[in-house]
Assembly symmetry: C2
DNA sequence: GCTTGCTATGCAACGAGTTGCATAAGATGA
DNA sequence: TCATCTTATGCAACTCGTTGCATAGCAAGC
């Protein structure tokens, strides 16, 4: 069997980067980690419970003032081992799912091509927005004096560099999508006037 | 509610392009359509049955020689209408799922960085292979005299053009991934020697 | 006092997708 | 003859992911 159930592993990585509650994890899955892995809070709570039963994470009750108490999770030795084992196992490249591509091919059988143009423009805007968010995050987190400083390299440098290269992947993806959607719009424009 | 259950719609598009059996559809989902939407034969048979019950497709028993008989499905009026309605509904941009990205960020907490390098190289190879397949398909299906011929445009031209622009999207995606994985490998190389 | 909103956790039901297995007809080759 | 491969269809069980709903504490504004 090859590479399944990655939500556990995404949570382990996130908790290694910084321990936190289910709620905080859900927040992270809306940004940062969420750039390449999505999860809702229900899913996270359910998986956290299972991970706790399996001894992958430890829990600590943290009383808070001005807001409800929380349970702070951190990675246990068993969790660390599980992550390492998964890291060393080969994973299949993701299978792609693009319903926009289905729609584009479906448009050949549609009476109203203008509808698809609007839809493609909506998607283009969404990717443009994401790109702007990613670039702002890069500016915020990965520029400045320490970014290219000389000197001895620490494990924290490695962590930063790896986060950065993943973010660059997100940026490259959004740019590619915007270019492709422009290609789609140009193609649709070539066919629109004739019909 | 916004855009769910797209397998039905992918099947409708494929059957509009050419009627066929569940088995044939499963084959198409390993190439062509499969470039942007995956499905196993069990899933396809189950969904075809539901679509038949809903009156979206018609079935015709086709006896064959030298092999088992098949059921050939084609799109009914209700199916055409269902597809049109889905095409005109907005769909959310796909949420991304890249377990390789999880692994890369996880590598910051791993003792053995060489394992990740091997994994990234495996993925790079897989994307290289897919790119070669796509380019071969483009060469086969979208070059030649009729590709850029002048003259009146038919619905078939539109169908071809739309298939082509979707394929170009796949090509752009694979190229972007290969470039990014090179970036990842270069980043890992910068950190490897130190540790 | 009431509503609205944010933090924080959770259950129940459902739909989507995967995996393993079963069946059956004919083709191919040892 | 027997095993294996390809075409062709399907069931059952399971996991994964989403949606709707519920609860509860505290804050802010009307």
């Amino acid at each position: 069997m090859i590479g399944v159930m990655a939500l556990e592993h995404a949570i382990l990585v996130s908790l290694l980067e910084k321990p936190g509650s289910g709620y905080e994890l859900a927040r992270r899955f809306e940004r940062s980690i969420g750039y390449f892995w999505t999860a809702t809070h229900q899913q996270i709570y359910r998986v956290l419970k299972r991970m706790q039963n399996d001894g992958w994470v430890d829990v600590r009750d943290v009383p808070q003032q001005g807001r409800p108490d929380k349970k702070e999770y951190s990675v246990a030795d068993l969790g660390r081992a599980a992550l390492a084992s998964w890291l060393h196992d080969p994973t299949e490249p993701e299978s792609v799912r693009h319903d926009l591509a289905v729609k584009i091919r479906g448009a050949a059988f549609d009476e109203d091509p203008a509808a698809l143009i609007r839809e493609v423009e909506r998607h283009r805007q969404a990717h443009q927005d994401r790109l702007a968010r990613y670039l702002a995050g890069e500016e915020r987190d990965f520029t400045g004096p320490e970014a290219s400083a000389a000197g001895p390299r620490t494990p924290l440098d490695a962590q930063r560099e790896l986060q950065h290269v993943v973010l660059r992947g997100g940026i490259a993806y959004e740019r590619m999508m915007i270019d492709w959607l422009d290609d789609v719009l140009a193609t649709l424009a070539r066919f629109g006037p004739d019909r």
